[in-house]
Amino acid sequence: MSRKVKLRIWRGDAKEGKLEDVSVEANEGEVVLDVIHRVQGTQMPDLAVRWNCKAGKCGSCSMEINGKPRLACMTRMNTFAEDETITVTPLRAFPVIRDLVTDVSYNYRKAMEIPSFAAPEDLKPGEYRMAQVDVERSQEFRKCIECFLCQDTCHVIRDHEENKKSFAGPRFFIRIAELDMHPLDRLRNRKQKAQEEHGLGMCNITKCCTEVCPEHIKITDNAIIPMKERVVDVKYDPIRWLGSKIRKREGIV
């Protein structure tokens, strides 16, 4: 069962670009990425689009579909009305390279700023013992496929390039939370660093990131809010404040 659908695709580069209308076949059961590939194979052979797995597992085909950050491989064509024109544009928070492909290097720079897992020094490989319930909290965040849709939608940086320098974004707040909740991680000041160095305080909990997450990770409720609450606890607890000054060391305990 095949029908014609109307697509409006943004084409251009860092300098200029415009929306172009195309009409293309769509078959039963197809997703937006299938239709974009058909456009590429039959009408626009040089149409730039990132994709890899086509199964929602790699997070490559992130784009904005009718203005919403989505994975093109997980957006089914039958979710649109028959005569609807589907508008496909590149992620707005990142600089365009070409057509639907953006420069997401911001995210890789931020990844470099997050201190890595600090392995326990007294345990050899094979000696790690952790309970399933204790690893599950971090495992939720490790489901992240790095599609960066949460970064794209977050209004701290979506239209505020100037905030990028001091704001790691939801993807990296769950990275920090994941390490903070790791039963065997040795670094003890991750929440404070999130607040002081990675811009946790700039988040005003609108939950937009959670809404767009294709893995349904509860970014706000399970990572950002608990970290914010505990940062406040530590900051205003005078005995812990004094303790941290007396011990005179940061980080490793």
Binding site: D13, N27, E28, G29, E30, V31, L33, D34, Q40, G41, T42, P45, D46, L47, A48, V49, R50, W51, N52, C53, K54, A55, G56, K57, C58, G59, S60, M74, R76, I97, R98, D99, V101, V104, Y108, A111, M112, P115, S116, F117, A119, P125, G126, Y128, R129, M130, A131, Q132, V135, S138, Q139, R142, K143, C144, I145, E146, L179, H182, D185
Partner: protein, 631 residues
Amino acid sequence: MNNDIKFSRYNFDVVVIGAGGAGLRAAVEARQAGLRVAIICKSLFGKAHTVMAEGGAAAAMGNVNDNDGWKVHFRDTMRGGKFLNNWRMAELHAKESPDRIWELETWGALFDRTKDGRISQRNFGGHEYPRLAHVGDRTGLELIRTMQQKIVSMQQSDAKEHGDAEKYLKVFAELTITEILKDGEKVSGCYGYWRESGDEVLFEAPAVVLATGGIGKSFKITSNSWEGTGDGHALALKAGSALVDMEFVQFHPTGMVWPPSVRGILVTESVRGDGGVLTNSEGKRFMFNYIPEVFKDKYADNEAEADRWYKDQENNRRPPELLPRDEVARAINSEVKAGRGSPRGGVYLDVSKRLPADEIKRRLPSMWHQFKELADVDITEQPMEVGPTCHYVMGGVKVDPDTAAAYQVPGLFAAGEVAGGMHGSNRLGGNSLSDLLVFGRRAGAGAAEYVKKLASNRPAVSDKEIARAHSHLNEPFTRDGNENPYALHDELQNVTQDLVGIIRNEKELSDALEKLESIRKRAAQVKASGGRAFNPGFHLALDLENMLLVSESIARSALARQESRGGHTRDDYPKMDANWRTINHLSKWSGKQVEIDPAKSSMLPTELIEVFEMDELKKYYTEAELAKGGN
């Protein structure tokens, strides 16, 4: 002479092509040996096909059943591969995979746990004991993310120590390598282009590790992502090395069959490991009819016993749904051909009757998600429709088992799916993730040792080599012609799917070779339209050459092997023949076509012969071999 060729130049000790599990593990090892390492990924960092591995990584840690050990794992691997495996690779793999898994925990990996807090292990086809370390059904993502984060942590240390995060370990994302460069016999570097800009790049490096993964995109129905175009296989062939046993291609028994856009996408074997059963349109569990003679004593021949096995594995034989993948794929193929398939040409896979809904969602979260969102099927209530999909190539670059050094090209190494030998004629599920850790590490170490031995005697990149690479890379723009790369790719996929697929014969394979030849001629007329910047038509034009080489290699090897074994089934030679076990097929590139060179495969050494019962060995080895005894 190169004044008019514009390219950027980098110099490293080791260049790793491919940023999946094997490539990243190789890079970690080479950097830890003190070398300067470049990692090249065709996609963004962290997107390689390893992310799609679902079930787990096989390692005989014995956490769930302490009868397990490396010898049992070795035995299962050889059985699964129908004894065509390179035994030394299978031995190293079985011995070293537990250490490779434990090491990942020290880098931050969080596997699912047993009750006593150790790494949990699950059942899988062909493995005698629960053996697969896993994280739900997204184990590959955990592996790749852990190693990606390990790379970042090493870069952070370098930044602290040397003031530069990328001087010693640099990731080149969205860059494709099109040529291995040589100085005489030895590797001197490699050449390619940035996908983003189309700009050309030269890497001067005495050691290159191929870790480019598989070839699935040569087939129409595949679980592979677009990257699986056999780049490393083709680079090795053209550099003068050899591919071993390319006829063996694994068709995973359970890919999605509907909707058409996701046809081929993997449905993890864990569904069967966790109790899923296969039924045909008559509602029968057909796998009981397909237990081959060699496996009769290990697999239950009735439903009652098969069902009891999930509770009591000591006293019951395994359900036949857990036979090695080649057996299950052929069985499904036969059922569909016999008219007992589902309406959309597959069979049914049902886990909903075995496990409560919550348990299914916990153990198989991404399967639940994938079917719910893409097929409107709730697997906690309904069966899935599944059918075979091209999943993995057992064949690959012929390597030295201990160092991963590629055959006949000093300085070239290969690990992971692109390397051949380890899995023989059929790979067991779970052995891929452990393979890429074990041999990724060995390739990194092998490359490091090679570079250190060279000392200052490094091969040089000549202007002539640069000119050759530059000219080849630009052909899609410079040549005359009007062939569309997308249409040609489609045709290639139809040829391999229809004529070099699960069931093969002489006529169809010969036919395939003729058609491939004509596609090759037309591929020389492919013209890329548009500019150089992020132009997928240009990228595909170059990838197409690799897929053609790989397809030819598979078809020629398949035509030469006149028997059926593992991932190679001939309906004109339906039996396995011990005389053929003594032969490995080497594919070599003559400059015009792929040529097949039969080579003698080696006999097990005495201490490994003792792992098996003589009765079993008699099914696989010739009388002459067994009379002579071990090596």
